[in-house]
């Protein structure tokens, strides 16, 4: 095992997959000599050259379209979207072409591509901060991954680069500088498998991406007050690991769904409904961003996005123990 920063784990996954499969190419803004907006492609341009590590103009529609077409025609492209917000500009080729290609061609064409997009609020304001994962979960044909640890980032990105169809791989600005353990041996993590990060008995807290980190912090605080929480890191938003969720919720009888994005039609709304169908008598609650754009002001941003205190309070309310 070695310790790597999240961004380094991504870089190692890309390097290994590019070494393994010459069809893998990278395309995105500032990924070549600059080394990536988050320093996550550092060294790849020098190692693999300009044909496989391509800077693109600031044009997300053609960036995603290039990836979709190149994938359909035999490459395995990874397209970088600097802020998940900007994927809105590239949704047409992703949703209308890539996600439907296998179905509409009756299996003759597929689009084995990855869109890596960076979500999350970190002081950059309304259009550099959104978490719109549920939009993507809503699309048949898309696999949606959102790891929170360096090890998972490594294993899941490798899986994404081998997947038979389009994958949206969502990372988070606050995760890049975090360190974590990455296996020395090559390893992949299957899609649709959640991770139980912490075991408790009273309540199941379900999160993904950076909110998994915050949920663990909240679980620590709850523990001091005698409440023990399971914390499940979804890792894969589609497909969903219902087995892991059901096993935990079946034990605790209470599930709190936490996300950084909006609650309305959110990840929590979908999971709470699905889990209640599977776990009779389950009590559920959800917590997401307040219904407002994310501000660039640290005060306003912090008020909008869930934090450990709000998560712990929501868990107490769910358990009928009142807020602290």
């Amino acid at each position: 095992m070695s310790r790597l920063f999240f961004r380094e784990a991504l870089c190692r996954a890309m390097a290994e997959e590019m070494e393994r499969d010459p069809r893998v190419i990278l395309m995105g803004q500032d990924i070549a000599a600059h080394g990536g907006s988050y320093a996550e492609t550092r060294g790849l341009f020098e190692r693999f050259g300009a044909a496989r590590v391509r800077n693109t103009p600031v044009a997300e529609a053609v960036t995603v379209g290039l990836a979709a077409g190149a994938a359909a025609a035999g490459l395995r492209p990874l397209a970088f979207i600097t802020y998940l917000d900007f994927l809105m500009l590239g949704l047409d080729p992703l949703v209308n072409y890539a996600a439907k290609l296998r179905f509409k061609s009756a299996g003759q064409l597929t689009a084995p591509m990855v869109v890596k997009a960076t979500a999350g609020a970190k002081g950059q304001g309304p259009t550099h901060a959104q978490s719109i994962e549920p939009w993507l979960m809503n699309v048949p044909g898309l696999t949606v991954l959102a790891p929170s640890t360096a090890g998972d980032a490594y294993g899941l990105l490798k899986t994404a680069l081998r997947a038979p169809g389009p994958v949206v791989f969502i990372d988070h600005k606050r995760l890049f500088p975090l360190g974590g353990v990455v296996p020395d041996q090559e390893e992949t993590i299957p899609v649709g498998s959640a991770a139980l990060r912490r075991e408790g008995r009273d309540v199941t807290i379900v999160a993904h991406s950076y909110m998994s980190v915050v949920a663990l912090e909240a679980a620590g605080a709850l523990s001091k007050a005698g409440i023990e929480a399971d914390v499940i890191d979804l890792r894969s938003l589609w497909p969903i690991d219902w087995d892991t969720l059901s096993a935990s919720a079946g034990r605790t009888g209470h599930a709190l769904f936490v996300e950084e994005g909006q609650e309305v039609c959110g990840v929590g709304a979908e999971l709470a409904f699905g889990l209640q169908e599977r776990v009779p008598g389950l009590r559920v609650a959800r917590l997401g961003a307040r219904r407002a754009p994310v501000s660039a002001s640290p005060v306003l941003e912090a008020y909008t996005i869930p934090d450990a205190t709000r998560i712990a309070d929501a868990a107490r309310r769910l358990l009928g123990k009142g807020a602290a």
Partner: protein, 336 residues
């Protein structure tokens, strides 16, 4: 849970009638007969489609057949062709068997995509039809990606994308032109310019005086061509394809043609009646028939024989489509 793997795809019989594909060569008499017969085949096929009990929501190619036939005449099967939702003529000219195409259009299992794709999304990569796409301008960026793959894999293939004049106001065209020029992609962009985006004329919808003006700022060589003249189309496409194949980067063609009918089988005709009537003089089939007659390459007997042969082929295609089964409803969730 792994995403579902593709099912074995339907093997459309290549023995069923299809267009006798025009060849890439000097247009001698035999080739010109093939071109005329292809134009006729496309026209008669669409009449057969309209005779179906439920033809559905279709965008017909009537008036634009010379674009389809002329472009396809100059592409190899290994050159991926992407097109817009006005795909019927293009698919037939590319060599999709007529029976399978008809089945696909009405949603039956005998189509190349088992009836799932229909007009707007039909594809048959084995004959070089990489696919139609129902989003106006939606296929342009994808075509750039297909061209990038050809460049990267060193296949030597030219990727061709046919789109309507309506796509010329969309940002996707300009992003595609930029990248195609920047990376010198082996990409032929063909504007199938019928002058109208549903009811909005090119004059009312596009600021440029002519669509080739959009290629100019990117340094992409472009030409406007009479898109009702199949020989002129084939000549221009042949020249462009040769340049692209020799590594000279992307090309842009504006093929000006007419849409003889309304936008779709379900759309009201909104164009001025006098203008629509005048289109008859630009009917590519009649123009070509008369030209071959005037050049002594066609007489009544030859024309009658050609019509009889096409009619028989179309009748066979209709029978194929009629006998094709409807897909099992459970297929609706396969290959997702």
């Amino acid at each position: 849970m792994e995403p579902q793997l593709g099912t074995t795809f339907y093997d459309v019989s290549m023995n069923e009638p299809r267009v006798d594909l025009p060849q890439r060569n000097i247009p001698d008499g035999a080739e010109r007969h093939r071109r005329l017969q292809a134009l006729l085949f496309l026209r008669q096929f669409e009449y057969a489609l309209l005779r179906q009990p439920k033809p559905g929501f279709q965008l017909l190619s009537r008036g634009q057949e010379a674009v389809a036939v002329g472009v396809c005449a100059e592409l190899k099967t290994t050159d991926p062709l992407l097109c817009s939702g006005r795909s019927i003529g293009v698919a037939l000219a590319r060599g999709v068997p007529a029976g399978g195409m008809l089945a696909e259009l009405i949603g039956k299992d005998g189509g190349p995509n088992r009836g799932r794709a229909g007009r707007a999304h039909v594809s048959m990569p084995s004959v070089g039809l990489f696919g139609a796409h129902g989003v106006v301008a939606g296929n342009l960026t994808v075509a750039a990606g297909v061209a990038l793959a050809q460049q990267q894999l060193g296949t030597g293939a030219v990727t061709c994308c046919i789109f309507g004049d309506g796509a010329c106001g969309a940002g996707a065209l300009h992003e595609t032109l930029n990248v195609a020029a920047l990376w010198q992609l082996p990409l032929l962009l063909v504007c199938d310019n019928n002058g109208y985006a549903v009811s909005t004329s090119v004059r009312d919808g596009l600021a440029a005086r002519q669509v080739i003006d959009y290629a100019a700022p990117f340094g992409i060589p472009a030409a406007s061509v009479d898109g009702t003249d199949v020989d002129a189309v084939a000549a221009a496409v042949g020249e462009a394809v040769a340049a692209i194949r020799s590594g000279k980067g992307p090309r842009f063609l504006d093929l000006q043609c007419v849409r003889l009918g309304p936008h779709s089988t379900l759309t009201r005709e909104e164009r001025p009646p006098a203008e629509v009537q005048a289109f008859d003089a630009h009917d590519p089939l009649r123009i070509y028939e008369q030209r071959l007659r005037s050049e002594g390459l066609l007489d009544d007997a030859r024309w009658a024989a050609m019509q009889a042969q096409v009619d028989a082929q179309i009748a066979q295609a209709e029978q194929f489509a009629e006998l094709a089964s409807w897909p099992d409803a459970a297929e609706a969730v396969l290959d997702v």
